[in-house]
Amino acid sequence: MRRSGVRTVVGALVAFGVVALGWEVFARSGSLPPAITPPVEAIAAALARMIGDGTLFVHVGYTLGRIAAGLGLAALAGVPLGMLMGRFRPVERFVLPLVSVLSPIPSLAWVPLFILWFGLGNTASVALVFYAALFPLILNTWTGVCSVNRLWIRAAESMGARSGAIFRHVVLPGALPFVIAGLRQAFARGWIAVVGGEMIAATRWGLGWVIFDSKEFLNTDVMLGSLAVIGLLGLGVERLVFAALERRTVERWGLVRRTSA
């Protein structure tokens, strides 16, 4: 386990090293103007500058804040809705067609409308994350409720549990692996949405905004640096938040096996 973990990390470092080296060679070859292909040390310097003056943290804070707000609201709406769908047929018949049609629309396609409705700023970005995150949460929760083992429900009934107690003590924990999977998907989609949304809808702050804004001044080092931060942050949240959540719940209960890190 530990050995294979070390091997995975070494493998990842080698892969990134090779890509960085390739980029360095390409950047210095002069086949494109140096202004648009900054070498690795220029990117690192740009990042160091942003860290030094603190702006990076503000951008990261705004982006994380927006996704947290959007994801939180989507969970507050989507999880109960998915539960209701799993429990009551009429709700399922009403909601499912709407979800089926709305879910495939890329959230970014809504940006112009959202700007008209909510104006530039936080609200539009949060709404965008909400939209992107809502449907995976609804669909996964609904599936989770539908696939709760009938035997658990029978056992609970035989021990005198009424429908409210069955819901709280059996359906909720039984559906949890799917809800967590839904949260993961929702975060992945929300992360894409927030960065994309910030490019167009945000003002002054946010990782998406910084990339788009840097275009004006040809700050390609800032752009690439921010992209790296976006990738690392997305991975970090996935690993720290969701993996930890799984370890404490569904993995501990033996409902899902540990996925290799």
Binding site: A155, A156, S158, M159, A161, V170, W253, G254
Partner: protein, 250 residues
């Protein structure tokens, strides 16, 4: 004293090719603290009969009474143990699984903990109170299920082939344990199995069901002292009798 009365019970359900009669005119009385085994080939309706007594299904004919009251649904007077290990709640430790029925009854935390401990001790699993079901072997999980079904003190214990998915050695062990638990708790037990030796080992009385539709073909009282020796001549004689009623090599 009659504890469970199954009177002229019939059960029909809608099959793909019209209604199917799973049980017809089944009449069985079970005395208080009696250990009764229902034996039959697959499809003879023995599990259906157990589900009717449990209240998961309602008879289409006849009626079932427990302590004189007609069964209309599940109730805390009955505890159920299923065949499938998955019956335990994976998100609860063994201890918390056993506490479930008490929790539903509104028992206080101290009483729950104490009672659950006592029943885990009864099935010899006190050391594993804090383990999650997936950390336990199949036999241990079934023991937790038995403790769970007993903990809220039902008068009747209904068991649907609880040991069928265990290996032979573990099954022997579990049967011995169950006899001990029964001797100590004096529950009325209705136990479904297709294993004739198991029925002779456990039961005061064995009811033999024949399929299509399920009807009672024999009612055999096993008059052997406990603990029973499965290799004794008398034991084998009972097996022979029951296999004869099953109509074949069983």
């Amino acid at each position: 004293m009659r504890h469970i009365e199954i009177a002229k019970v019939g059960y029909e359900y809608a099959g793909t090719a019209g209604p199917v009669t799973a049980l017809r005119e089944v009449t069985v009385d079970v005395a208080t603290s009696e250990f009764l085994c229902l034996v039959g080939r697959s499809g003879c309706g023995k599990t259906t009969l157990l589900n009717l007594v449990a209240g998961f299904l309602s008879p289409t004919r006849g009626e079932i009474r427990i302590s004189g009251r007609i069964v209309t649904g599940h109730g805390l007077d009955r505890g159920v143990v299923f065949q499938d290990f998955a019956q335990l709640f994976p998100w609860r430790t063994a201890q918390r699984n056993v506490e479930f029925g008490l929790e539903m009854r509104g028992a206080g935390a101290a009483e729950r903990t104490e009672t659950a401990r006592r029943f885990l001790r009864l099935v010899d699993l006190e050391r594993f109170a804090g383990a999650y079901p997936h950390e336990l072997s199949g036999g241990m999980q079934q023991r937790v299920a038995i403790a769970r079904a007993l903990a809220y003190n039902p008068a009747v214990l209904l068991m649907d082939e609880p040991f069928a998915a265990l290996d032979a050695l573990t099954r022997d062990e579990m049967q011995r344990l169950l006899v001990d638990v029964w001797a100590e708790t004096r529950k009325t037990v209705l136990y479904v199995t297709h294993n004739v030796a198991e029925a002779v080992y456990l039961a005061d009385r064995v009811i033999v069901l024949s399929p299509h539709p399920g009807t009672v073909v024999a009612d055999v009282r096993v008059a052997l002292p406990r603990p029973r020796d499965p290799l004794s001549l008398a034991f084998l004689e009972y097996q022979r009798t029951i296999v004869g009623h099953l109509g074949g090599r069983g």
